[in-house]
Subunit: 336 residues, 2 copies
């Protein structure tokens, strides 16, 4: 089968968001929020919208002309981002409707091209490209026979469609939560400044504090590494440097775990004396913290669901472009 | 294309292990060890064997009659096991020769059947089934048009081929290392007794201690949960119970991290007073330990490489059966 044989023949026209909203008896805004996995939708409403979308929209989009398979190419060696995104995408397509097939490119463009050709030869209906960081990546171009959605790492080409977590909002949300709970001397310890995610999260924190007319404790964001070890080192530095702080907002849960350890060693009570927050809400790290770590969930399954929705729309001819930033969600536990 | 069209036509006969050994100038035993990712092979020798195998064996096996794709169906929600196994398999097949396509069944047999059909419709050359635990699983049966290798979770059917980490050997290896480094009062804290892995690892520990004529400190294996929290609770219990111990062998790295924390709080020096070991060698947890955690690597990429080798042999007509246990490898850091 040649590449031209793989060109999409048009199936049934895709169901519009309006149809889903009407049939589910909700507003278009609510339907959109529910499908995007946003937070402020009642679970029962969300379920209703998702069920309706599944019946109406996706059944229409994934017509019999299609193979019911989507390729996901990832460069995420731990599976940290790609497995939840894969699961979210399959849930949105509807169980038993679409198989998402994951190939691992390991951040290597030659491997990526090889897997891309293998997936196209299998006549997948579309592609989801998942990066290992939120740093922009090269576009695959527009000569492919199937639509592509970039997830987590956005494409450098603004005419591609990319879905990324809103890291700036995540940082701001965490800072606002700390301010509202009465903290006024907030330090920010985060990962490597070379990562877009570190800078975006810090920008959100700094903007939220400026808005509240509060300075950053210690005077500046402490950039370092995405590790427990850096969380420990930086927290020691704050304490030994005599910095006056009543909260530490950490750029990742691993950094926050390091901060918790050092505060405990110095017999500084969390959260009564110092509140600690992580970002990511990675279950492996939030659940082992003492106390349990308050964090911000990056909503990776929501990213996957949105990717599936956009890919279905694109397969049906409704092609979108640009970068969509998906909101993240505060998860309050014990540490803040 | 119907299922019968997918039946394997025989390609070139596969290269035998003997050919690989001869061409690489090593013994058959060494070639086998190198291909299986075992430990006692010099890296240079291993590289030579792998390169030879790639040239000779796999190039022969994955003939032009095949599609150069292998399906991997996993139930591992974190990607913890499946991503390294996938990477090992691709490395063994040879970069640019085979795309391994992963589908996530989430431990659900209906999803598994759905993905299975989707992969068979894509004419994959073979299947790798990865479980989320080492507990035995139901066989897919023998009516499939392509060979199957079960990895991590063995098939209940002894006529299937299964590759699993040798958990018993891993436990024994860790215990022997502690005994040889002079420890004689070794406690064993491990996960949920319902898991085959917990019982196998404990059996290895207990057998090695019996061999050394040493009792288990505290009198019995402490089964609990695969968590940092259980590691902390059990270690507190040992200390508060007045148990005399100079080493804690933990059934997972997460449990070991909990043990390290509590020993530190009680100002018990590691490793000088008490040695601590983990099992798994999961980089996320060993690297954050204070001190860095000595552990036993489950050699997941080696499992993947062996799966690829066995699958290639089966595709070439050499079908094996039974459970092969792959050796695990001690990784010494600071904690023991």
């Amino acid at each position: 089968m040649t590449m031209s044989d793989q060109q999409y023949e048009s199936g049934k026209p895709p169901a519009k968001l309006r149809d889903v909203a009407e049939m589910a008896g909700v507003s278009i805004a609510t339907a959109s929020k529910a499908l995007n996995g946003r937070v402020h939708v009642h679970p029962a409403t969300r379920d209703k919208v998702l069920r309706t979308a599944e019946k109406l929209s996706f059944a229409g989009k994934i017509s019999s002309k299609h193979t019911g398979t989507v390729g996901l190419i990832t460069s995420d060696l731990d599976g940290r981002f790609s497995i939840p995104i894969l699961m979210g995408a399959e849930d949105a397509f509807g169980t038993g409707r679409v198989s998402v097939m994951l190939c691992d490119a390991r951040g290597d463009s030659i491997r990526e091209q090889y897997h891309l050709q293998a997936l196209l030869e299998k006549n997948v209906d579309g592609l989801i490209l998942v990066g290992s960081t939120t740093d922009p990546r090269k576009s695959l171009g527009h000569d492919l026979p199937v639509p592509v959605v970039y997830v987590y790492a956005p494409s450098e080409d603004p005419t591609d469609l990319s879905l990324v977590p809103d890291d700036r909002q995540a940082g701001a949300e965490a800072a606002v939560y700390l301010v509202r709970s009465g903290r006024s001397r907030i330090a920010h310890i985060t990962g490597d400044v070379a990562y877009t995610a570190a800078r975006d999260r810090a920008a959100g924190v700094e903007a939220a504090l400026a808005e509240a007319k509060l300075p950053l404790a210690g005077g500046e964001t402490l950039y370092g590494a995405w590790s427990e070890s850096w969380g420990r080192t930086a927290t020691e530095r704050l304490i030994n440097g005599g910095v006056d702080f009543d909260a530490i907002l950490c750029g990742s849960d691993q950094i926050a775990r390091g901060a918790l350890e050092i505060l405990r060693e110095h017999q500084i009570a969390v959260p009564s004396q110092v509140a600690v927050m992580g970002l990511d809400n990675w279950h492996l790290f939030v659940e082992g913290g003492r106390p349990l770590l308050t964090s911000v969930d990056m909503n990776l399954e929501g990213l996957g669901r949105a990717a599936a929705q956009r890919l279905s729309e694109a397969i049906g001819g409704q092609v979108a472009q640009g970068i969509e930033r998906m909101p993240c969600k505060l998860v309050v536990r014990e540490s803040a």
